[in-house]
């Protein structure tokens, strides 16, 4: 796995870009978790690009949930691109993460931005 975090210009409210490449499984998840924790501490909005991710396991979905909740709680946003990346969709499908209703673990106004709700409904994320 390789991760690059591109911070927006200082003072800008733009979204920080997180590029992930390769496999993201139990072997790599602790490292990614630490990098996302640091990114969330510095930025309110993250765009996580998973296009170059070849394989994910269930620990990645769990980490995305925790990251999404952390950002929503600080009035930020988490955007996954592409939101319907096949390895991600397949793992979300088999592990029952796809859903018809929003997440109850975030503030009310953020429920509709549940990552798995949008993946389930096939909608593009508006951020």
């Amino acid at each position: 796995m390789h991760v690059e975090i591109g911070a927006p210009p200082q003072g800008s409210e733009a979204t920080a870009q997180v590029q992930i490449q390769g496999e993201v499984t139990i072997e790599q998840i602790a490292e990614l978790s630490q990098q996302l924790r640091e990114a969330v501490a510095r930025h309110s909005c993250l765009q996580v690009n998973v296009e170059a991710v070849s394989e994910v396991d269930f620990s990645f979905l769990q980490l995305m949930c925790a990251t999404h909740r952390a950002l929503e709680q600080q009035q930020g946003r988490l955007i996954l691109v592409p939101y319907d990346h096949p390895p991600l969709r397949q793992m979300a499908q088999v592990t029952g993460f796809l859903r018809e209703q929003g997440c109850s673990q975030v503030p009310d106004d953020a429920r509709g931005r549940c990552l798995w709700l949008q993946l389930s409904q096939g909608e593009a994320q508006s951020g």
Partner: protein, 376 residues
């Protein structure tokens, strides 16, 4: 070798011991479908668990044997001496592979390949010569006689085949509700919970709902731990034993609940005239108390929305209960359609009326014949 692999080796010994008992029973009585089922389940468990813990060679080898015994269960093949001999030889081979895993000894791949080819030949109806397997001396005298050896037997004249067919007909679809809450360090111990979900879904048609409310904040999250629990609604012909087998290596450290929700032949809740209401499912699962349900009922709004907005249960729990309700409803609707369909294909007619009809047709033929002669 990690603790998960160690546990697999220990459990696999117990499975092999059960396998040997079932095979010796089959040797005594080749028509014993209960023993066939036990051999199938043993192979199925070795296949699934072997793959889960990284024993790919054992997994692939037992997969082929599982398929043959699945065909025996469905009545396409019958048990004969060659099947029993090859199964015993294969049991010895698995034992040797397990020993090799412990000691690091190399077992040539050709040995595995040769047995795999013999299973393939047997499944294709060809004769195979099986090297003698080690067997307990007490059972040596009770081997089937040579005249029973031909394989496969002609269609329709084997009582074993008939028994297998009738057993297959008796199998029915059942709907199970399964709650799987693994211990948090399941992944650290080398077990991938996703493999278990996939293996479960191989048993039939299922809907998996992840309960994600217990995932902690990013600060507190140990990303290598599992904080999710799952509800699986499974519609399957496999029995509860087959479902339990999927969890055999994690059952001591996980919460596993299996509940029969619907079956054609079994007694279901007598009050459950159609299918259970959402609130009742949640109370039954322990996700909601009866008092909380009563309070929400008094407000007379949509139960799921009210329960979520009153924070009595999470949306995931409501989704899971809805999945259960939907699976039971679909299964009952399908059954009703089948019954309606089979009803329209036959009609009861009293024997006297049938006699009358035959007489009338006879008269009609006679009159038609006279008319033909008159016309000439």
């Amino acid at each position: 070798m990690d603790s998960g692999q160690q546990a697999f080796l220990e459990e696999a010994q117990e499975i092999l011991s059960e396998l040997e008992t079932a095979l010796l029973e089959l040797e005594e009585n080749p028509q014993d479908m209960d023993a066939v089922g036990r051999v199938f389940r043993s192979m199925h468990t070795l296949k699934g668990s072997g793959a889960m813990f990284g024993f790919e060679r054992i997994s692939k080898f037992t997969h082929g044997i599982e398929n043959v015994f699945d065909e025996i269960r469905s009545g396409s093949l019958v048990v004969n001496r060659q099947v029993v001999d090859l199964a015993l030889a294969s049991q010895d081979h698995v034992q040797a592979l397990l020993e090799a895993a412990r000691t690091g000894e190399e077992i040539p791949q050709e040995e595995t390949s040769q047995l795999q080819q013999q299973w393939q030949a047997l499944a294709a109806g060809q004769e195979v010569e099986v090297a003698a397997a080690k067997r307990p001396p007490a059972n040596a005298a009770s081997q089937p006689q040579p005249q029973q050896e031909a394989a496969p037997e002609p269609e329709g004249d084997s009582s074993a085949e008939q028994q297998a067919a009738s057993s297959s007909e008796e199998e029915e679809y059942r709907v199970y509700g399964i709650r799987f809450a693994p211990q948090q360090d399941i992944m650290k111990q080398g077990t991938n919970p996703v493999s278990l979900l996939q293996e479960l879904l191989e048993l039939g048609e299922g809907k998996v709902v992840a309960q994600i409310a217990d995932i902690p904040s990013l600060e507190e999250l140990d990303a290598e731990c599992c904080y999710v629990k799952w509800d699986i609604i499974l519609t399957t012909r496999a029995g509860e034993d087959a479902i339990r087998d999927v969890f055999i290596f994690v059952e001591d450290d996980s919460e596993i609940r299996i509940q029969l929700l619907d079956a054609e032949s079994e007694e279901v809740d007598p009050e459950d005239v159609d299918y259970k209401r959402l609130g009742d499912i949640l109370v039954e699962r322990g996700d909601l108390s009866a008092e909380q349900l009563q309070q929400v009922w008094q407000k007379r709004q949509r139960i799921g929305e009210m329960l979520v907005s009153s924070q009595a249960v999470s949306e995931e729990q409501v989704n899971s209960a809805l999945a259960e309700q939907q699976a039971v409803r679909q299964q009952r609707e399908k059954r009703a359609q089948q019954q309606a369909g089979s009803g329209s294909n036959s009609l009861r007619v009293p024997a006297e009326r049938l006699d009358q009809l035959v007489d009338l047709v006879g008269e009609l033929v006679t009159v038609q014949s006279r008319l033909s002669q008159t016309a000439l």
